[in-house]
Amino acid sequence: MTRRALPSWLLIALVLSGLLLLALGGYLGPLVRVVTTPVVRAQAAVVRYARAVGDYLRTPTDVQALRRRNQELEAQVAELQTQLALLQQQVADLELYAALLDFARAHPQHEYKTAQVIGRDPSPFLHYIIVNVGSDDGVRPGMPVVSAQGLVGQVVAVIPRAARVRLITDPTSRVSVRITPSNTEALLVGSVTGDLSLEMVPLDAEVNPGDLVVTAGLGGEYPPNILVGQVLSTRRLAHALFQEVAVQPATAFADLRVVLVIVNFRPVDIAPLVPTPGAGGP
């Protein structure tokens, strides 16, 4: 009696079905792990080495491209930094001119000529600046010079395209001023260190730190009511005839870049009115 063998496809199908059922049932997990783990590790190693080789082969072109790109970016950064510096400079200039405009609007009785500071006196004993406007621009000796903060000085010499300005901090500078709110008149003097002080302030005058100092207009050299600074400190000495008063200037003289020349002010020379010894009187 012969037995008919099962067809091979049926046998394979049964085995596969069995395996599938075992897998679905979770019975093949350990076996799968054992088989696949080395395979996955081997594949990862192969990929890693393949990529390393690929990177090595591509490196020369990448470096060149990166260098080129780096140069482009560096050039771009330099250009942007230049633009940024220029824009910052323009913003600073704009703020400066806006402040000067505010000053001009606050004092509409004067006519102004804007001037840039282009130099300083080479001697450290003197406090003078050189500005880039001169007689061609209508500037004359004696004209007052102001900044957005307050009084700067006076034009003392002029050439066609430049002028020399004596700052109020110069040791030879004398400005007739008034202290508010007490309305005390005094003489503002400079010094070699650039410090400002007031002379001829009576001992009984009520002067306190923080009081404002403005031009008095006496003497005909400066128009009245231009801010000069603030009283910094006062000192009364028993044996002295006058108070010692230090003044903080309103203008930052170390940072002077742009100033205004008051071109419609003509100083008055009162020298002929000053009595001289030996002159005959009535």
């Binding site: 130099g119 006196d121 080479p122 001697s123 450290p124 003197l126 010094s191 070699v192």
Partner: protein, 170 residues
């Protein structure tokens, strides 16, 4: 001709830089006297074309254009410095650095003293001598001595480029 043009251009540039830039940098109230330093370096380096007083008078003339002191004060101040340099020329001339520092030291003292005298007595500026000494003269002297060598290095480069070989100091 090239020596004179090169020297005069250098000295004029020094005075321009002094007015435009250096005068703003202070130690107390003293500043570097760049025209003096450039002159000292130049006459230390250049020894054939013209005597020290010639270059000193050139500095003084340029200085007069910028300074508020009466006209001619620069010629007087730097001319005096040039005269002193002429006197010591034969004694210290062989040693460049000794000559440089001697010129800077004597030149600083002389220019500051003469400037103070002119400002104090000619312009009637009431500057106390102690304030002038401590706030201006000594700081200026210190700054000049510190800046002498760097300025000399720059001027020497310029001199090497401008001057013929036989005009250069060894």
């Amino acid at each position: 001709m090239r020596v004179y043009l090169g020297g005069l251009a250098l000295l004029l540039l020094a005075v321009v830089l002094q007015s435009a830039v250096v005068a703003q940098w202070h130690l107390l109230r003293g500043t570097v006297d760049l025209p003096l330093l450039v002159w000292a370096a130049w006459v230390t380096r250049e020894r054939r074309a013209a005597p020290p007083w010639f270059w000193a008078l050139a500095v003084g003339a340029f200085w007069d254009l910028y300074a508020a002191l009466p006209l001619g004060a620069g010629l007087l101040i730097y001319g005096a410095v040039g005269g002193v340099a002429q006197l010591v020329r034969g004694r210290l001339w062989q040693t460049s650095y000794l000559m440089l520092f001697a010129l800077v030291l004597v030149g600083s003292l002389l220019t500051q003293s003469l400037s103070y005298g002119l400002v104090r007595f000619l312009m009637q500026a009431p500057i106390p001598f102690d304030a002038a000494l401590t706030q201006v003269m000594l700081p200026t002297l210190l700054l000049n001595l510190v800046a002498a060598l760097p300025v000399y290095a720059v001027v020497a480069e310029w001199a090497d480029w401008v001057l013929p070989a036989d005009n250069l100091a060894p």
